[in-house]
Amino acid sequence: MNRHVLSVLVENQSGVLSRVSGLFSRRGYNIDSLSVGETEDPKVSRMTIVVSGDDYILEQIKKQLNKLIDVIKIVELDAEKSVFRELAMIKVNTTMETRASIIEIVSIFRANIVDVSNETLTVEMTGDESKIEAFINLMNNYGIAEVVRTGLTAIERGNKHIKNQIKGEEE
């Protein structure tokens, strides 16, 4: 079961997210994560969908997504040629004794502290998944109160542009 990252341009309309997520559940495909937001064109949203499956599943996912009228374009992003990022916010339990060492780790990871209270410290960080996992693992030693993650978002490196790639590439 390989992991694949799909970048999908869709019409920025209500109901699109339900169509896409509904497609995955009714055809039995697994979504690892899905993130979505508006693009440079306010009429278009861009989804980053992380899926796992073999080549057959991946091909079916792409083809079935393409059949949705609201889907404009699908591109599979190659890990080597793309930048993958995720944003996470982690609320860590702190005491007077642990606070300094947590701050030290935060700076090693080049993460930001966005909130401090007597018992907690909230860290915001971006990175690929392995970086976030590594940070969460370290914070487990102190006790994590809450974690919230956006799911992966991704873009291709260089001058490649999703708009210049045609829909229905597998024909």
Partner: protein, 540 residues
């Protein structure tokens, strides 16, 4: 102009002259505009029938079928009909009323999230939020329903939107949806490869599916078969793609197909699959291919069907009619392979089995007799179950004849309403609804529609007092189970009489000829009830 009037104006612009429907509180504005128009409204007796009738109408007329229902239960009753059309790729535009747009989500009286509920079996759907979008939405809906791989499109319209004044009533001339650009023409390189594969093969075979009929490619298929000499088998939905008397015709494949046809698939070295997803039921009867490799050319307008159920070496995305024309143009009769020996090998049809018990009609013989009695333009609408299989196996296809059935979803109760739609689309053609006693009772209410509009349909009822297909499956898997019996069936003749429909009941094969003649001559709808042995099987 009121938005409801703009809706009707848009329908007229799409050449809609007939709609099937059932009114209710949240679609009244549309009905009022409909009443003032020249569009014919056919009142069904339950909403599911509106979708089936629109589907039968679409398949016979070649146009998009239109059905209308109210919000809530009206809309949810449509669902089975929408799903039936979706599975068989039938172009429909389905219009439903919705509660006032400002009240959506508050669980109002007769509120249902129909776009959400029907999402997985509509090709596309709209929940209209601005009345000024209606001309564009309706234009798009008809375009989406009828192009590429056809399918049902749902438009859900809140009652306040129907009543709103619309500023711009102009209907756009063209449709431009950036996410929807279906491919129709076959890739030239693939056409070349396909033609080369045909010339290299020794035992080529065509598997024709419903896509051939949907793209109206019967003529091109015939030319292709004649030019190449390639034998043909078909799926249930592909019945009628080639006349069964053609010498290249082998038969129907699948669990309920002919073993000769299934064996042909197993023996072939090249399969040319046209317009079918070759689903489980079609592929089910094929003996395992072990000895040789087979090359597969798969032609389908939906790229997602290619490689989904069967692998392929030569995929061709496009419209069957266009691609067949491209192939015909490219094939040189000199590089045609000699298929005579292969064809002779395949031609050995089983004979008809006469009914062994007395006091019953043999449904196979009934279908064969009917085939001889009917015109060349007759339309057979089969229900689901044993009757469907008997009809599919033993009704003889001729040029101009049509065979309609719910092949994908397998919806019992399809035949009566679909036959009504078919008859309305083509009043001059003979229409026969073939149905079992189970399916008949699922759509009994449509006798009301058939009677009211005096639709000259012959209802051929195979009554075996069983859910025959269920009984057959139970026998096969669980021993003599007979868990489902319909022994206390009503008197169907009297029931039809109550709807002012005449009928006769026959119990032996010898009565068939006279009974069919009487039914065919009869003016108005007619029930021909054949009493069938409860132990009768679809397999021989």
């Amino acid at each position: 102009m009121k938005a409801a009037e703009a809706i009707i104006k848009s329908l007229i612009n799409e050449n809609v002259d007939t709609v099937f429907g059932y009114p209710g509180g949240h679609i009244l504005e549309v009905y009022e505009a409909l009443r003032k128009s020249n569009i014919r409204h056919v009142l069904v007796r339950q909403e599911q029938a509106a979708a089936h009738s629109a589907s039968g109408y679409a398949r016979v007329s070649g146009k998009v079928g239109v059905c209308i229902a109210t919000s809530g239960p009206g809309a949810t009753n449509l669902i089975t009909g929408i799903a039936t059309a979706y599975m068989d790729s039938i172009p429909l535009v389905v219009i439903t009323g919705q509660v006032n747009s400002s009240k959506i989500g508050r669980d109002m009286f007769q509120e249902a999230d129909i776009t959400g509920a029907a999402e997985s079996f509509t090709k596309h759907s709209y929940l209209v939020k601005n009345e000024n979008d209606l001309p564009r939405i309706i234009k798009e809906a008809f375009y989406i329903a009828s192009t590429g791989r056809p399918g049902p499109v749902l438009i859900d319209i809140p009652s306040d939107i129907q009543a709103a004044k619309i500023e711009k009533t102009d209907i756009p001339e063209t449709v431009d949806i950036r996410g929807y650009k279906p491919t129709t023409k076959g890739h030239v390189g693939q056409v070349k490869r396909a033609v080369k594969a045909i010339s290299e093969s020794k035992r080529p075979l065509i598997i024709a599916g419903g896509g051939v009929l949907l793209s109206h490619a019967e003529g091109e298929l015939l030319t292709f078969v004649e030019k190449t000499g390639i034998p043909l088998v078909h799926t249930l939905m592909g019945k009628g793609s080639l006349p069964s008397l053609n010498r290249h015709y082998i038969g129907m494949i699948g669990n309920h197909g002919f073993s000769e046809a299934n064996r042909a698939v197993a023996k072939a070295d090249l399969l040319i699959i046209i317009g079918t997803r070759v689903a489980d039921r079609a592929w089910g009867g094929i003996p395992e291919k072990t000895t040789e490799d087979v090359r597969i050319i798969h032609i389908d307008v939906d790229p997602a069907e290619i490689g989904k159920n069967v692998g392929t070496q030569i995929p061709m995305v496009g419209d069957a009619k266009t691609i067949l024309t491209q192939m015909i143009d490219r094939i040189d009769t000199t590089d045609r392979t000699d298929t005579d020996e292969w064809l002779t090998q395949l031609k050995s049809f089983e004979g008809t089995v006469k009914c062994r018990k007395t006091g019953f009609v043999n449904p196979r013989y009934a279908m064969e007799t009917l085939s001889k009695k009917l015109n060349d333009e007759a339309i057979i609408v089969a229900d689901v179950g044993q009757n469907q299989i008997w009809a599919a196996r033993y009704f003889e296809d001729r040029i101009g004849r049509s065979f309609l059935t719910s092949g994908g979803l397998g919806t019992m109760g399809y035949s009566l309403p679909a036959a009504a739609g078919a008859k309305i689309a083509a009043p001059e053609r003979q229409v026969i609804a073939v149905v079992g006693d189970g399916g008949f009772q699922m759509s009994l209410h449509e006798l009301g529609t058939i009677s009211y509009y005096n639709l000259e349909i012959i209802i051929l009822l195979f009554n075996n007092s069983r859910l025959g297909m269920v009984r057959e499956l139970q026998d096969r898997f669980y021993g003599k189970a007979n868990a489902v019996e319909l022994d206390k069936n009503p008197d169907f003749i009297k029931l039809c009489n109550a709807f002012r429909i005449e009928g006769v009941r026959i119990t032996t094969d010898s009565q068939l000829e006279d009974a069919f003649e009487k039914a065919i001559k009869h003016k108005g709808p007619f029930l021909l009830e054949c009493v069938v042995d409860p132990d009768e099987s679809t397999l021989i």
